[in-house]
């Protein structure tokens, strides 16, 4: 653990839905530049934790801190997200999907750019599309793209907003193994090129080991067989991984 203020810190976080305790006494620290993979069984609170970092859910107890300050309890452009599905806007072309963040930021009233500013945004969007390998698809609509291409688009779209933290919620879970491997290479490149801090939920342990600089395993520490929901999950393993070597073997 570093002595500086971590980028993200969870302090004694509890979360319950009704009688179902999802997370209990969760403590963790994530430094800037880390690539954290979170694995665990279904229903162990991985996604709940991600939603809390996103600001969609408040913790019941404890606090989540960003740079040592309490997190803003609604999504904003500090934290980008790629979901497993519904990550891109069906009514916008590929290019417009990527340009959207700049239009939203630079034009607060109408959310659209014109003239030179529009061309500047287009240029940046095209650069990002080239990075994710979608330059030739810029005029198409998302529904004309394959699942892998949609996730590439979602990554480019998030990155143009320059988030400090990129949250990935099982982003490659619905993809074929071969495509998934291409996406691993891409997301590693993007993580390094954009100096991101990444928090990735996955249910694929191998994917977690392949991509992360650190691996969190969420699981229940205590279990009551009569009342399986009485205790919540916690970080049971926090493994620092050595990933400087080309560990990306095909999944």
């Amino acid at each position: 653990m570093s002595t500086t203020v971590p980028l993200i810190e969870a302090r004694n976080v509890w979360k319950r839905y009704g009688d179902n305790v999802v997370l209990e006494r969760l403590n963790l620290r994530i430094d800037a530049g880390e690539f954290c993979a979170v694995v665990g069984a279904s229903g162990c609170g991985k996604t709940t934790f991600l939603r809390m970092v996103l600001g969609e859910e408040p913790p019941d107890k404890g606090a989540i801190l960003l740079d040592g300050q309490p997190l803003r309890m609604e999504p904003d452009s500090e934290r980008g997200i790629v979901f497993q599905r519904y990550s891109v806007f069906p009514h916008l072309t590929v290019l417009a999907n990527v340009m959207l963040a700049r239009e939203l930021k630079e034009s607060k009233l109408v959310g659209r750019l014109f003239g030179a500013r529009r061309r500047a945004a287009e240029e940046e969007a095209l650069t990002l599309l080239a990075q994710v390998g979608l330059a030739s698809a810029q005029r198409r609509y998302p529904s004309e793209l394959s699942g892998g291409m949609q996730q590439r688009l979602a990554l480019a779209q998030s990155l143009i907003a320059r988030p400090r933290i990129l949250l990935l919620d099982e982003p490659f879970g619905a993809l074929d193994p071969g495509i998934r491997h291409d996406m691993h290479v891409l997301v590693t490149d993007l993580w390094q090129a954009h100096k991101l801090t990444v928090l990735m939920i996955t249910h694929d342990l191998k994917e977690g080991f392949a991509l992360g600089t650190r691996l969190f395993v969420f699981d229940k520490v205590r279990a009551d067989p009569q009342e399986p929901n009485a205790y919540g999950a916690n970080v049971t393993y926090d493994l620092p991984l050595n990933r400087h070597s080309p560990v990306l073997a095909p999944a």
Binding site: P75, D76, S87, L104
Partner: protein, 273 residues
């Protein structure tokens, strides 16, 4: 032999099948009509196709003796003006209210039960109130149609907006969108094709309220004419008017569908992202 559920018609077969019911109804009409006319040449109930043709000519091409107007076209223009005005107003109200209720929980909590209750009031029951308040002119007819279909459109849009995946709304916020921009750049464009669908579905009701209002108090309009000539059992006018109304309604529906396909190519691509 395949199962019935798997049998699909070829294009030519499909067209033939589509025309078949129309042809059958027409043939049935002609045969019943000639049967009745053979028994009584003055029968007014099922006029011959030729006398319907003569009536159309009289209404559409010959100026009326009383006013010098071509009644068919005067009626059509009056009805279409009322209908399109009312539908446009209803669509605007429905869109604004629907998006507000669908996208903003605070507004929804305050207004949803109210809108749901208002949409349950039978519009025809308040027609007398409209006549009393707005008089017998154009306004009360337009208000009746708006009263009848705007709440339905609003509730439909509200439902559609709520169906927008939560992920998209969150995503827009992570890209820096304010509430206003989420609505302007995400919710509104996703709701617009739904609005056209909702308007298409409510056109039937709009015509119903239009004809009803015209039947009760008007001096022109398609509904007015039908109810006027009913006194003389003038089936030779009523039947072509009904067919004309049907054709107008059908054309509107097709035009809206065409607009939807041209303006929102992504909407009809099938895959839901």
């Amino acid at each position: 032999m395949k199962r019935l559920i798997n049998l699909r018609p070829q294009r030519a077969t499909a067209i033939t099948l589509a025309l078949l019911p129309f042809v059958l109804v027409l043939l049935a009409y002609v045969s019943f009509s000639s049967e009745r006319l053979a028994a009584n040449p003055n029968d007014k109930l099922l006029p011959a196709v030729t006398s319907i043709g003569a009536a159309i000519e009289r209404m559409a091409l010959v100026p009326s003796k009383r006013s010098g107007e071509l009644l068919w076209w005067v009626d059509t223009a009056a009805s279409l003006r009322r209908l399109t005005t009312a539908v446009a107003i209803s669509a605007a109200i429905g869109l604004v209210v629907g998006i507000t209720l669908g996208a903003l929980p605070l507004f929804s909590a305050g207004l949803s039960p109210f809108v749901a209750s208002v949409s349950m009031i039978p519009p025809m029951a308040v027609l007398p109130i409209l006549f009393i308040v707005f008089g017998l002119g154009e306004l009360s007819k337009v208000v009746l149609i708006v009263f009848g279909i705007a709440p339905v459109i609003a509730r439909d849009i509200q439902g559609r907006v709520r169906e927008i995946p939560r992920e998209l709304i969150v995503k827009a916020q992570t890209l820096g969108a304010s509430t206003w921009l989420v609505i302007l750049r995400v919710v509104l464009p996703l709701a617009l094709p739904r609005l056209i669908d909702a308007v298409r579905l409510s056109l039937g009701a709009a015509w119903l309220f239009l004809i009803a209002a015209e039947a009760i108090a008007a001096t022109d309009g398609l509904g007015y004419r039908i109810f006027l000539v009913r006194r003389y059992l003038a089936m030779d006018v009523i039947l072509p008017y009904v067919l004309w109304i049907t054709l107008l309604a059908y054309t509107m529906d097709r035009v809206l569908r065409f607009v939807s396909r041209k303006a929102f190519p992504w909407h009809n691509m099938g895959a839901s992202v």
